[in-house]
Symmetry: D2
């Protein structure tokens, strides 16, 4: 399963070079990731209510082209690895009007118990949904 | 007591008009408020550990002049009212190099119990510190 | 004309009180304002290409209820005054699921010439579109 | 030359997991980078006035530990490569109180002409300063 989220560039997303500030794409990867998990039947709220948090351990991005105010962006999210211990996703951010590839990226999360603060393994309830999403 | 915090404008604080995006000043009022409370012997972390949160109920700002990347700003914070139920502050943001007044503003917080979610009255422990800061 | 924009609360919009940080609503007023102007046939990009910027001179907000991660928000934008010299809008931000009113606000912009840096009057081209939107 | 910038974590830097949102570190690498360049005698404003912009082409980060509200952070910036065509830096973000390593990262910029929009080579004026900073 690959999911595509849409984000329209706001004026407050730009910087004094008149393009989107590069750190915003790291935020937008989150929009893509949340959308992917929702499509898999998982919401972050449900996981937090169950006592799990999911801190990011790695992030990377390559920037090919700049987005500007008012551009509509497509955030494609592809699962790379979804295990009981971690989730890794890759991303492609494209300009919707002409499909120009702007940014590619990758993130990795681990699952952590809110109670202990330690890395933990995901219960079957969530793992099964992630596995279905990988098929 | 009036406190002054310093903030240097980052590149990511600017927008495509090449000046600081106006919403950032609302964030920087928070820097001023936190600094004032610290000078009064109060940290937000201590209040949260004691079960209090302090949501903003009102905010306003007037913008006179624009700050730019790399400007050093002074954030002056003056208490307007500090009661057991709420805190109101006024702010002046100035450019440090020439004391040009950029923005004025005002915020109001209420104290809320994390347990009940309802507005609550501040215990003497905090109230006394705030009163000293008002003198 | 009253316009309604939609914004889904991202995880990065929240703060350690587990609700949306109050400064974000000031950003979201911009989403509403841009949407209103677009409905009136005006894009900020066109105005900037024509040499106009539109700095905010005043902003205010009252916070009634908190939004949380994943909430869908409606941003209602109503023109209060649209003259050749300035634009004022009022806003209502509601939770879409139950129409709960979260935040109300108001902003005021002036039109400024990029060339001179001074406040200027809007040319007929834009003014006529704004007047139609007011009807 | 290695430079160290300081950033105190603001409340608005946190998210609903009560720690700093991971995208903020990418912004803070910029604080470190700007500080390094300043120590080398280069300001972004001067470069922009001379017609150069310096878009980020790559960014990566590894997250070891979380920062919380009010933590004082050290942002160490080390040049990896400073050529006429690009700048690469590595970063270490540490908690000041106990030197705990929180995040490591790397960024790469290219120099671009504002006039042509194309990648360009840095003039001697800047290159010499960067070379001195590398010694």
């Amino acid at each position: 399963m690959v999911t595509t989220a849409i984000h329209k560039v706001n004026f407050y997303d730009t910087d004094a070079m008149a393009v989107v500030h590069h750190a915003n794409y790291i935020r937008w990867f989150e929009i893509g990731r949340v959308e992917f998990l929702r499509a898999a039947g998982i919401t972050l709220t449900e996981m937090m209510d169950d006592g799990y948090v999911f801190p990011i351990t790695e992030v990377s991005a390559k920037y090919m082209n700049s987005a500007r105010f008012d551009d509509e962006l497509l955030i494609e999210t592809t699962p790379e690895a979804l295990t009981k211990a971690k989730m890794a996703f890759t991303y492609r951010v494209l300009r919707k009007s002409d499909n120009l590839l702007l940014v590619t990226g990758r993130t990795q999360n681990v699952f952590t118990s809110m109670e202990t603060g330690h890395i933990t393994r995901l219960p079957a309830k969530y793992y099964e949904r992630l596995q279905k999403a990988l098929e």
